[in-house]
């Protein structure tokens, strides 16, 4: 599953999810709820870029 990087440097790794914010490990980027934002800087998903 693809990782996505926020402009602030945070990387969303589907294998890890974002447990503190209710995202279980194994959650693909595409399956994140719309309300999920970068846990570090608050940027919305549209600002993230897919990592190579």
């Amino acid at each position: 599953m693809d990782k996505y990087e926020c402009p602030c440097g945070y990387v969303y790794d589907p294998a890890e999810g974002d447990i503190e914010n209710g995202i279980d490990p194994g959650t693909a980027w595409e399956d994140l709820p719309e309300s999920w934002v970068c846990p570090l800087c608050g940027a919305e998903q549209e600002y993230f870029e897919k990592m190579d």
Partner: protein, 399 residues
């Protein structure tokens, strides 16, 4: 220029005081500020952070009082923002651009974006230890406290923490340490937290927990602005813990602007209503109070009433300015209520309620709008609005 101050054996504060600055990207700083930079001398000489670009000659002059700046062997950049990196190109030019520049991963990226140059970036991360001559440094990345590149540098032998913008204050004066200035510095530190770091309060909580786990022995905290905490560094750490919890106190604000004094009358009456319930209140006219001072009061206020007339179907421009600023800093745990006078359509209260919702503030009442000039009944509604807001706050605090 000031005589460099020796903080510990061979470690100096070599930064500059900016006596004249009052507007710090929209944050009002009545006493100016300092840009702190630190020189660690020894078998190798290391500069930690620099100063705003227009002070570069002063920085070099300060360093020259201790040693020839050309003999600096390496630079550590804790933060890319230009008040700390602005003199970096001058320093690198002086010492040789091949000299190592230690920074975080995001620091390397962000410095490239600022200076458009490939310096000899040496990326360090949390837990990394670096020995340069007889000095040892360790690093802690503090991403988004308050930029992606932010990091702390710690000297384990001397037990000194160089904390970048964290724990700073905008103050320039004749005092350099907490023990010299005493309580006078705390409102400056509080204002700094409210205006720069509040947005990242959950990160501050995580950071404080991490630092506690690491069991760091911190004898001195050297921030990049203001005084150095050497007598009691725990005082500012405890304050950060309190501020970042955003626990509300028994205090309300009434923030307003007015066109023909109708909303002023309403604001004064809302204030009386709040006081009738023994809740402390501050009436803040946005034309008299700077947005950054309002922000400081917001930090621990439990309730906020906002009043705006309707101007051309919208809220008043100064209220929009203040709300945009407040919203960006994300204060939490607030009860809220809106009011305002209008002439024909009266959208302001609705817009304010929507703003509260977006900020996740709890609106306790649909709000009060008054056509043109408030009469006695209207003012009674304003008084009741204030009383309701205060009662709800007391209930919340007692729950």
């Amino acid at each position: 220029m000031f005589t460099p101050i020796e903080l510990a054996d061979g470690i100096y504060s070599v930064g500059c005081r900016d006596w004249d600055i009052r507007d710090f990207h929209g944050y009002y700083i009545p006493e100016g500020t300092t840009y702190n930079a630190f020189l660690v001398t020894g078998e190798q000489n290391i500069l930690i952070d620099t100063v705003k670009s227009n002070f570069k000659d002063e920085l070099l002059a300060n360093i020259s009082r201790i040693m020839d700046p050309k003999n600096i062997d390496a630079v550590i950049s804790n933060h890319t923002e230009m008040d700390h990196s602005g003199s970096l190109s001058a320093i690198m030019h002086k010492i040789g651009e091949d000299k190592p520049l230690y920074c975080s991963k995001m620091g390397a990226q962000n410095l490239k974006n600022h200076f458009n140059r490939e310096y000899n970036f040496q990326v360090v991360g949390s837990g990394d230890t670096l020995t340069l001559g007889n000095r040892t440094f360790s690093f802690l990345e503090t991403r988004m406290l308050h930029w992606p590149d932010s990091m702390f540098t710690y000297m384990p032998d001397e037990k000194i923490l160089f904390s970048s913008d964290a724990f700073g204050q905008h103050y320039a004066g004749d005092k350099f340490f907490d023990d010299q200035i005493g309580d006078y510095i705390m409102p400056h530190a509080r204002k700094y937290y409210a205006n720069i770091l509040l947005h990242f309060s959950p990160r501050v909580q995580t950071l404080l927990a991490d630092v506690a786990k690491m069991n760091l022995d911190i004898r001195m905290i050297c921030p990049d602005h203001g005084i150095i905490w050497r007598k009691d560094p725990s005082r500012i750490i405890t304050a950060y813990d309190r501020w970042s919890r955003q626990e509300p106190v028994n205090k309300a604000l009434v923030i307003f602007d007015s066109m023909w004094e109708s909303t002023t009358k309403m604001a004064r009456t809302v204030t009386s209503g709040i006081e009738s319930e023994q809740v402390g209140v501050r009436l803040m006219n946005t034309r008299k109070w700077h947005r950054s001072d309002i922000m400081t009061e917001i930090l621990d206020a439990g309730a906020v009433a906002v009043g705006s007339p309707t101007l051309n179907n919208g809220i008043f421009p100064v209220i929009a300015d203040v709300l945009t600023y407040i919203k960006g800093l994300r204060p939490q745990n607030k009860l809220a209520a809106a009011f305002g006078s209008y002439g024909w359509s009266g959208e302001a209260v609705k817009i304010l309620n929507k703003e509260f919702e977006e900020m996740k503030w709890e609106t306790v009442d649909p709000g009060v709008k008054v056509l043109y000039v408030p009469d006695e009944d209207d003012l009674k509604r304003c008084f009741d609005l204030g009383a309701t807001l205060a009662k709800k706050l007391k209930e919340k605090l007692n729950a």
